[in-house]
């Protein structure tokens, strides 16, 4: 158990990324650094276009950095010279969801371990049903297709699909962005429960400071493009997190410390967005 807990430390060291599609270089990340401990729940808050997804793509192995490096438990994951290669150590849950609609819930969830051949079909199915059950009684939906589930259930199944691979790091790219308040608050509950059950390192990307403070151990605020870490804030609210914490003085105090900075970056990003359109 301890062994598992001590896996999944991420060091992001002066990470930089320049997109250069047609000579018009876009500096998406510059000198972006963070030390993330194993098992830590980290939220990254930043305005649109600041490079959050770029950072996540580098960690996931979808794209190459142009400077700096990212290490997972001391092993280089991403650097200008490392061939990007996604894998089950760090699994992404996508903003719009990426359950395969042509597979049933169960087929989706066992996809990872069976493709990697770490489990046989039967063992994978047993493990999947067990995990689905623990994560809020989802096992009863095993034979349904994703299209037959609510978007909240789809997102939870996708998180289970990721956890089936025993990843060291779970990467969540604004998974609740398109949801209404009520579903979102239900999803927060579920995600916190799942994280208590399976304490992996989590990198949670969001625009929403409230959400970040409520979920995370540590909140990083990113600057507008080129993205780097502007502030780091340790959220010393106890776990399990409860709704009344949202109206506690500790919470308000934490919010006071960062809200102005977040707002400033949001405004900058917004104004730049409009300038660039003009």
């Amino acid at each position: 158990m301890n062994d598992v807990l001590h896996q999944g430390a991420l060091s992001i060291r002066q990470a930089g990324k320049i997109y250069d599609p047609a000579g018009a270089a876009v500096v998406a990340l510059e000198d972006c650094s963070a030390e993330i401990r194993a098992g830590e729940f980290v939220a990254i808050v930043g305005p649109s276009g600041c490079g959050k997804s770029t950072l996540l793509n580098a960690i996931a192995g979808f794209d190459r950095l142009t400077s700096g490096e990212i290490l997972l438990d001391g092993v280089t994951l991403a650097s200008p010279g490392t061939e990007p290669r996604p894998g089950p150590q760090r699994v992404v849950v996508f903003q719009h969801g990426a359950l395969f609609p042509w597979m049933t819930v169960l087929e989706n969830v066992i996809y990872g371990p069976t493709r990697q051949r770490v489990l046989g079909a039967d063992a994978a199915r047993a493990k999947a049903l067990d995990m689905l059950r623990r994560c809020g009684g989802l096992d009863t939906a095993g034979q349904r297709y994703p299209g037959q589930l609510s978007s909240g259930m789809q997102r939870r199944v996708e998180i289970v699909r990721a956890l089936m691979n025993e990843p060291k790091v779970l990467l969540l790219d604004e998974p609740f962005r398109a949801m209404d308040t009520v579903s979102k608050s239900a999803m927060h509950r579920h995600l916190l429960d799942i994280h208590a059950l399976y304490p992996k390192t989590v990198l949670f990307i969001t625009h929403d400071l409230e959400e970040a403070l409520f979920l995370a151990d540590t909140v990083y605020v990113m600057t507008t493009r080129p993205g780097r870490m502007k502030t780091m804030l340790r959220v010393n609210l106890a776990r399990p997190r409860t709704l009344d914490m949202l109206v506690s003085h500790e919470y308000l105090e934490l919010k006071r410390q960062v809200v102005a900075g977040v707002h400033e970056e949001a405004q900058k990003a917004f104004e730049r967005g409009e300038r660039e359109l003009a």
Partner: protein, 291 residues
């Protein structure tokens, strides 16, 4: 944000003077008007193969003139139906709706409804979109409408975008163009139905600031519909909470945070008390998940 230029004020009020007893420019501070009263309103919708669905039951509340009232409730509780009733697109089965004492029987430019979905016509440029209302009614000449539209676009930080098409604008800019499109009609009351839904949280917060500033300058009577508690508290002078199945009014809550509202308003002690109070209501009526 800057105040409107005096030239616009003059122009717009000239144009509307012929039409209305009280001359109002889109951006001029309002006299206290646009008092909406909803009294005992119920509404059912007939369904194809089952009993009629009861959407609203005995709803009563007021939108006081010169104040910003937020209507808050879980999705599907009938907020939009209330907005349609107030706009005059639907008639209630029981109860009454009035504006400044007059019964609401049909849609009119004194009540402007802005939806969550974009209402800009994609085949018209932004300025044409904004000019549409007064031109369609024949309230203004083309030149007058154009000038009024451009003044509004300036107000909303859209200078230089008038000749663009909606698809060429960002989400936040489109929402502001929609506000201009509604405001050019000099409504007595604005009814905004989740206007910022779908924007990311940060852009949304900036849009809220835009609207609250506009409101503080014009005192334009507003009914703002939302599902987000943060948004409700930031904007509201008063929050009206709805419960669901069937939709009904469960509570009114005064939000006495001082104007002008800024991000600082959201970290004050008073804010915390109001949020606590509001949250308790939401939990009580099942609008937040607690399991």
């Amino acid at each position: 944000m800057m105040m409107q230029t005096s030239a616009t004020t003059g122009l717009a009020s000239n144009a509307t003077a012929a039409q209305q007893a009280v001359p109002v420019s889109p951006l001029a501070p309002r006299r206290r008007q646009g008092h909406l009263v909803v009294q005992g309103v119920s509404k059912r919708f007939a369904q194809r193969d089952s009993a009629p669905a009861e959407v609203l039951r005995d709803c009563s509340f007021e939108v006081e003139p010169g104040r910003l009232t937020v209507l808050m409730g879980p999705s599907g509780c009938g907020k939009s139906t209330l907005a349609y009733l107030l706009a005059g697109y639907l008639a209630p089965d029981a109860g009454s709706l009035t504006i400044d004492g007059m019964p609401i029987t049909q849609a009119g430019p004194d009540r402007m409804l802005v939806f969550q979905e974009t209402a800009l016509w994609p085949w018209m440029s932004i300025v044409e979109n904004v000019m549409f209302g007064p031109l369609a009614r024949g309230d203004m000449s083309r030149a007058q409408a154009r000038q009024a539209a451009e003044a509004l676009l300036q107000k909303f930080g859209l200078v230089g975008f008038g000749d663009r098409y909606p698809s060429q604008l960002s989400g936040g800019m489109k929402r502001r163009a929609e506000l201009a499109q509604a405001l050019i009609n000099s409504p007595k009351v604005m009814i905004l139905d989740e206007p910022f839904r779908g924007l990311d949280v940060m852009t949304r917060e900036l849009m809220q600031e835009y609207y609250v500033q506009l409101f503080e300058e014009t005192q334009l009577t507003t009914l703002f519909i939302t599902t987000e508690l943060e948004e409700a508290i930031f904007l509201a002078d008063r929050i009206v909470f709805m419960g669901t199945a069937p939709g009904r009014i469960v509570r009114g809550l005064e939000v006495d945070l001082p104007h002008p509202r800024t991000i600082g308003s959201m970290t004050s002690e008073r804010y915390l008390e109001i949020k606590k109070d509001a949250m308790a209501t939401l939990i009580e009526y099942g609008a937040v998940s607690t399991d």
